[in-house]
């Protein structure tokens, strides 16, 4: 069904938008100083970033989007005031095989547990399957991130790979789980 009228990037309470090089570095810099958020978002050892470092990262991201074409990066904004509240990404896209990796996060704890993550993931998946035409997407989640696990399971992702004790954090070992969702599964689930 060729529905190009329904907006790809507008949901009930949030929208996807581009990077704002003026306003966003300061906000994102604050998030990087929140160790709890960073440990949910990042698999590598965390480090806080200054706004200038975030700005440089943003430039690298747009450069990579332009040159490699394997990356889609969206800033998540509140619809009410366009404030930056998170990010959503499809990365490491392998076009010949139709694969991509998805990742998203909301920086402020006040914005979580309000259904905004679901709205963001829903838009991200529609984009992955109905605009980028991918065959499947994967999400990598550390086993301590129960919020992410629940979110992906809610959307029909299936646990596919469990790298045992692949993460070492807070002096404990955690499995790294790869969740997968096929385009056919997403299309079937949409009807319900």
């Amino acid at each position: 069904m060729l529905d190009i009228q329904t907006q790809l990037f507008e949901a009930e309470d949030i929208r996807f938008g581009p990077i704002d090089h003026e306003k966003h570095p300061e906000i994102e810099s604050r998030w990087t100083h929140d160790g709890e958020f960073m440990r949910l978002m990042e698999l590598k050892p965390i480090r806080p970033l200054s706004p200038a470092m975030v700005k440089k990262q943003y430039e690298d991201i747009e450069k990579e989007m332009d040159e490699s074409r394997n990356l889609f990066y969206f800033s998540i904004r509140a619809r009410s005031d366009d404030r930056l509240i998170g990010k959503a990404v499809i990365e490491w896209i392998d076009w010949p095989h139709g694969n991509g990796y998805v990742r998203l996060g909301l920086g402020d704890p006040k914005d979580r547990r309000r259904g905004l993550g679901s709205q963001a993931l829903s838009m991200l998946l529609r984009f992955a399957f109905a605009e980028a035409n991918l065959f499947r997407v994967t999400a990598i989640v550390p086993a301590y991130n129960e919020g992410a696990m629940r979110l992906f399971q809610k959307f029909g992702f299936i646990e596919e790979v469990r790298r045992r004790k692949a993460m070492h954090r807070d002096d404990e070992f955690w499995d790294l789980i790869a969740y997968g969702l096929l385009a056919s599964e997403w299309a079937a689930g949409k009807g319900s």
């Binding site: 190009i4 907006q7 929208r15 581009p18 747009e62 969206f74 605009e131 980028a132 299309a187």
Partner: protein, 188 residues
Amino acid sequence: MRDLFRGALVRLTSESAEDIARANTIWMRDSEFHRFADSEPMRLWSEKRQREWAEKSIEKDPDDSYFRFGIRTLADDRLIGEIMLRIDWPRADGILGIAIGDRDYWGRGFGTDATDTLLRFAFHELNLRRVTLGTDTYNKRALRSYEKSGFRIEGTTRGEMLREHTRVNSVWMGILREEWQARQEGAR
């Protein structure tokens, strides 16, 4: 000599990189617009990046094979879209691209007027032999507009686009100088 850049509803302009970038950032919020304008999966570019590209193409390297105009309404000078022509001089052929970013101006003749104005420029100033364009077939409004301006379908690329799990054809359209001239005479 008439003002080649002036139509009945719009005029063609040269915009600053900053204005083009700002306008595009606003238009880009409308994914339906993008899906009419571009076959690639959408990327949401920052205004900064748009300005850098616009600077390169408009201000820094003026390229005599490429013309990029803003489209402004005559009534209130509002920037509603862009129109461009990429020229192959040896063949005296130009590829036309037009995008009306402000959806309030869809289906009201503004796009057709911009196209007609550009065709006059192409045939009377650049002295081209023909103008070409490509478009997807789900953009029915655009197809009608191009036909109104005198373009004819010259070929179909089957299943070129894939969107919302649906394969869609694209078409190539063209107008020859003599066809365009005949229309001008017919209109008198």
